[in-house]
Symmetry: C2
Subunit: 210 residues, 2 copies
DNA sequence: ACTAGATGTAAACGTTTGCTGACTTAGCCA
DNA sequence: TGGCTAAGTCAGCAAACGTTTACATCTAGT
């Protein structure tokens, strides 16, 4: 291996002359977080080693313990980050644009190099804390989805709507995994445009507009 | 631990006085296979240890190496078994009964104790051989599903049908995982009856009857 | 009943894992 | 400039992992 300059690569696509300190705790944290999210999402928790993550981030292994306490702590941080993004989508997206939003999530527009964060939500670590976070994210997101179609907490007969909203999430997550982990063609190479049509049919069928 | 009689429990619900040898290679193989399928499906490949599987099966660890060469070999055997079942479903089920069949798969009717075999199909081991098996299963199944709606290999314009069939599988697998690995309510407690309605809407929307 | 081969057992091997402690180096202010 | 603290490095530990090896016990054929 050639000796790299000490400033590691980041997702900076714009050519801005970002003034970067050689030692920057918050940036190192972010590098670890991004590398971990990709690894965890693609390979799962148990199959990912802390040394893998550290190498991807171009950072020393011991810093994972320093900044995130443990591998488990890093995983929970990833889960929270992915959960925030998903909740932003299911909460702020108008009901008729949900298919586009999900397709965007799956095709991974926007954030640099973070592919298929949805997959993270079904990657389990066996730890109770992480499971609780994930369940919370999924429940809140499905409730937000269902609420846009008339679901109200505890209201009799609207339980079905929640079930259907969870199936929408399940479908989205399933597609994300089949694309990223397993590479299933033609699903893997499908663009956001290719996905949005079928996804619209799917969402409209499960959660008919009122 | 109390000393159990050497004949281990099997899925024999009928009260037949099955004459069982105390040492039976094929039965031991099957015990390992069943235990492994459950563990792999619920916890994933990397998170499952060979000692877990052997304990579940009530069998010595070394026998995994004897009968399946390695943990990887056992995983491939599980994949093949689950794949056979799925292909039987997507191949032999008339197009209009697919939702019931998928719901049955998810709710796990029939086979004793084998919950959510669909989950197995997205559990990756990192091994190239296993990945190939899984991809083959998914491709053949999606082709069978799509063929019932008019898809023909290489026919222009019908590629979309294949994509949609893969999304149906993705949805089914996603639901299976959210039910078994993560336990998401109310999805987890939903019965086959609860699932079949939404699933019918989903399948009809993605693969409209011709 | 005896034996050969099939089946099952127990213990240990070498490797990899997550994590830690003592150490070095860079950044910053007086 | 000097020195203090934050940031990063390095080597190694203990535990857990998949696998193997040498041995014990059962089954079936004669």
């Amino acid at each position: 291996m050639t000796a790299e300059p000490p400033v590691p690569a980041t997702g900076n696509t714009t050519g801005e002359p970002v003034q970067r300190r050689r030692r920057d705790a918050t940036e190192t944290r972010q590098l670890l977080l991004n590398a971990a999210r990709q690894r965890f999402a693609r390979d799962g928790y148990a199959a990912t080693t802390v040394r893998d993550i550290a190498d991807d981030a171009g950072v020393n292994v011991a810093l994972i313990s320093r900044y995130f306490t443990s591998k488990e702590g890093l995983f929970e941080a990833c889960l929270r980050a992915a959960g925030d993004e998903l909740r932003r989508t299911t909460g702020q997206t108008p009901a008729d644009r949900v298919p586009e939003a999900i397709a965007g999530h799956i095709a991974d527009l926007g954030a640099a190099g973070l592919s298929s964060q949805l997959s993270l939500l079904l990657r389990s670590s066996g730890d109770a804390g992480a499971d609780e976070i994930r369940r919370g994210v999924l429940i809140r997101s499905s409730e937000q989805l269902a609420a846009a179609r008339g679901w109200r907490p505890g209201e009799p007969g609207s339980e079905q709507l929640l079930l259907r909203a969870q199936m929408v999430l399940a479908a989205g997550i399933g597609v994300a995994v089949l694309r990223s982990s397993i590479q299933l063609e033609p699903l893997s190479s499908a663009t956001q445009q290719d996905l949005v049509g079928p996804l619209r049919d799917l969402v409209d069928a499960l959660l008919p507009p009122r």
